[in-house]
Symmetry: C2
Subunit: 392 residues, 2 copies
């Protein structure tokens, strides 16, 4: 967690306590990795963090999941479990992981998440203003909190989005690791590129590589030829690679809780002049972003520069709604590089930058890379060639 930034954002919003409720926000505030919450987002887990004690949050979580806290200990001040779960205890247990679990699971707290949250909030100073992340809490619990505490409780997701915009060195390390996994999987998939392989077969090579790297596949858009015009192409078992096809990758994974979302384009055989020309244009648009991104520049200025550069470099009719977005615990963190976004870039922000182009009947070309804003500019976290890949 970026504690300094969190304190500033909460102070600015005159909030004394923030309650994270999503899988990502609970992890951000506590380091707790939920199990059921990832599978079933209605599972209620809360990280209650006082602005003056951000490193001692209270974690409210179902006792049936708390072996996760024994395996991957979270940074918390206090654990408040709820519900029932039965594990037979040992008379004496020496293994540290098992002993931690035994301590946690010896409790039989009962009760519900809502009861636990209302009680924890009720124990706060009555003047405390609370920002409750409205994205992960159930509607019923949010209603109950508002009914009980009224205007003292405001929605909190936007505040946490603002905190999370600027990454810590550890977050940047993980985002770089995630990007490298995706680059490796693209390389493995391209090694399998040959006439007759289907999109679905190449996607399996890709996902297998991601898993071999210890990461979780998240989305795998691999599109051949004209299917590249479909932005979210579902890899098809019927569409097989032909000479001259472009291969558009738009792929993402999770590595150590952090997302990656990058793109590359390749061609089997000699690229048609239109493919080469359009690729050069979008690459020029991306390159322009690398030149202009630095602290103080506004996201909308980056957008304007990228679209203009792409138009000037060979796609005069180029239009986009955004040309990039923050990346972190979510694949779309703030800010978005889009018209109207006045957010100035800050050192430590990490973006996926992209200038995709889709044309029905032609296909698509895309390049997307991960960059971190530095004190004086920006730095690519991806390492592979950004040129159009030509497969002999």
């Amino acid at each position: 967690m970026n504690t300094t930034r969190a304190q500033a954002v909460l102070a600015d919003a005159r909030v004394d306590v923030v309650v994270g409720t999503t899988y990502a926000n609970v992890f951000y505030l506590t380091g707790y990795v939920g199990f059921s919450q990832r599978l079933m987002p209605t599972t209620q887990v809360y990280a209650i963090a006082r602005a003056d004690r951000l490193d001692e949050p209270v974690l409210v979580a179902p006792i049936g999941d708390l072996d996760m806290h024994a395996q991957l200990p979270a940074r918390i001040g206090r654990l408040r479990s709820y519900g029932h779960f039965y594990v037979q205890l040992a008379s004496e247990e020496r293994d540290p992981e098992q002993r931690r679990y035994q301590e946690i699971v010896s409790a039989d707290p009962g009760g519900s998440a809502a009861e636990a949250l209302l009680e924890e909030l009720g124990a706060l100073p009555s003047s405390a203003r609370v920002a409750l992340d409205e994205r992960g809490v159930t509607a019923a619990v949010r209603d109950a909190v508002r009914a009980r505490f009224g205007e003292r409780v405001v929605d909190g997701a936007a505040l946490l989005d603002r905190v999370r915009m600027v990454k810590t060195p550890e977050e940047i390390r993980r985002l770089e690791a995630a990007a490298l996994v995706m680059e490796g999987s693209i390389a493995r998939a391209l090694e399998a590129a040959r006439e007759g392989i289907s999109e679905a077969e190449m996607a399996r090579v890709f996902d297998t590589s991601t898993i071999a790297a210890g990461s979780a596949p998240y989305f795998t858009v691999i599109a051949f030829g004209e299917r590249g015009a479909l932005p979210n192409t579902v890899p098809s078992a019927a569409r097989r690679l032909r000479r001259g096809d472009q291969i558009r990758f738009d792929v993402g994974c999770y590595t150590e809780m952090y997302a990656s979302d990058i793109s590359r384009t390749a061609v089997l055989g000699a690229p048609a002049p239109k493919v080469r020309g359009y690729y050069e244009a979008i690459l020029a648009g991306e390159q322009r972003m690398l030149e202009v991104m630095k602290p103080g520049v506004r996201a909308r200025e980056v957008f304007d520069a990228a679209v203009r550069a792409t138009q000037e470099a060979g796609i005069p009719h180029y239009r986009r709604h955004h040309v990039g977005h923050g990346v972190g615990l979510d694949v779309y963190d703030l800010p978005i590089i889009a018209p109207g976004s006045e957010t100035p870039l800050e050192p430590g922000m990490v973006f996926e930058i992209e200038t995709p182009y889709y044309e029905i009947g032609f296909g698509g070309v895309q390049v997307e890379d991960t960059v971190v804003i530095t004190e004086s500019g920006c730095r690519l976290l991806t390492r592979s060639s950004r040129e159009l890949a030509v497969i002999a």
Copy 2:
């Protein structure tokens, strides 16, 4: 969709219109497979279905995702897109998929999801009572709908849960396919079982097999020996398989949108008498469920029978909070087989039944299978041996 059941449930609740808002509920009502919504659940997609025209729902979705509707056409009466997305159009396009996409993406609807929803609800008869699935709609949109329409709009997630409890033949086919994928991946993982393999290595074999079957890994709990006591074991690169270890699988995937969640237990070498004895007890508990599950029996009666059978067969201190749950588009569909659940079983309900046992210092034993309720009893959808697997 189980249309007959949906009509009955909505009539019973005196609801004229149901609005699905989660990835699963939108799919259930329309067949629409979202892209961004799966990755970013705050993406707003709505399926607005009138009880008297359930097969003609209105789909509200961001235009940037609507190539998904071109690729996998949904069953909808009308499409209402919102937002901006730019794709260069072709002068003439003959490929059916590309032509469908061109028709959809030619619109530039603008506006927001909230505006689209408020307008669509405003166009309904003013007497219409609306059930709005509160799980996928943002808090802000829910607040806006309630402010505008007041008590005419109620929360709808529980109604959709009730409809989805009883599966159609096509849903049962997909749930069976998902279970078979998991059984195949367990078999591949057990083929790799040898002294010295780590939990993490075996999990990679498992996930690779799942991907090779065209399915998406969802959760992969593979625990050796004492680590089996951790219900949600994160496969460890450090814990290596030793002779005499039990191997506990609790694994899930998604196949054609439907979930599976099954378990098996194996031992490398001769099982210790305690492992064999406890396994026989939990298998007896599961077997008892297969004997008692039939239409009209209440979920709590199944629970009582399973716990009692497990206790009598060799774990007198056996306790559980549930011994199974429905499975469908979510890994936990209703009903849950738990104390207090008065829900009677009905033909077409599909369950994951399980009697896991966890003991710190000992480990875990677990068996979990997929069963469908038939007219006269129940039928296993899994096919592999449910006995303790002994690996030579």
